[in-house]
Symmetry: C2
Subunit: 109 residues, 2 copies
């Protein structure tokens, strides 16, 4: 199948999974880290920085953009990509809620 049965899970579970999935590739992690570091960026930089083909990077950027985590402004012939700060903070809330669930002290196994 290779097809996720989204309909049997609730909205929150699907949202967490969507965010996590986009972080589930080291290239996208590296892109985001680079954008945080230099705080503004053009795509060409990333191709050199990361070491994948230009079309591959462009594809990863599109996925990040589709989820709203980055935005890109066209500046002449190049594109300025950066973190979408409001959406990043929103995403953080969702992920923290999941990661920071209470661990009770009861020992089971």
């Amino acid at each position: 199948m290779g097809l996720v049965k989204t309909e049997i899970f609730n909205e929150q579970q699907n949202e967490i999974a969507l965010f996590a999935k986009v972080f589930g590739h080291p290239a996208r992690v590296a892109i985001l880290q680079h954008l945080f570091k230099i705080d503004t960026c053009i795509c060409g930089d990333l191709v050199i920085e990361i070491g994948l083909a230009q079309s591959t990077i462009s594809q990863h950027l599109r996925e990040l953009k589709q989820l709203g985590l980055i935005k890109g402004n066209i500046e002449g012939t190049s594109v300025c990509y950066c973190i979408h700060k409001e959406n990043w903070m929103q995403m953080k809330k969702v992920m923290h809620q999941f990661l920071d669930q209470d661990i009770s002290d009861e020992t089971c196994c």
Copy 2:
């Protein structure tokens, strides 16, 4: 290709991506939430709770176990699964470091 070029990324980036990938499926998110909620569990519960085939749940449990996020103790004919608390906290550190990167105030786009 369908094959991630792990070798061009650093250890931290690959580790973040591995953790994120395992959270990138709503069934695994749901399994973890359930384990947190009831704090001890057997696999059969999960099959009813989640609504996927037993073999599918078993597969997801294996992935979570392989990453060390859960552990399973055999108890008679059933298996008691629960969160691996130490490893979960360790994972949280790694993910927080990534999610909580500083967002500078400079506006770029």
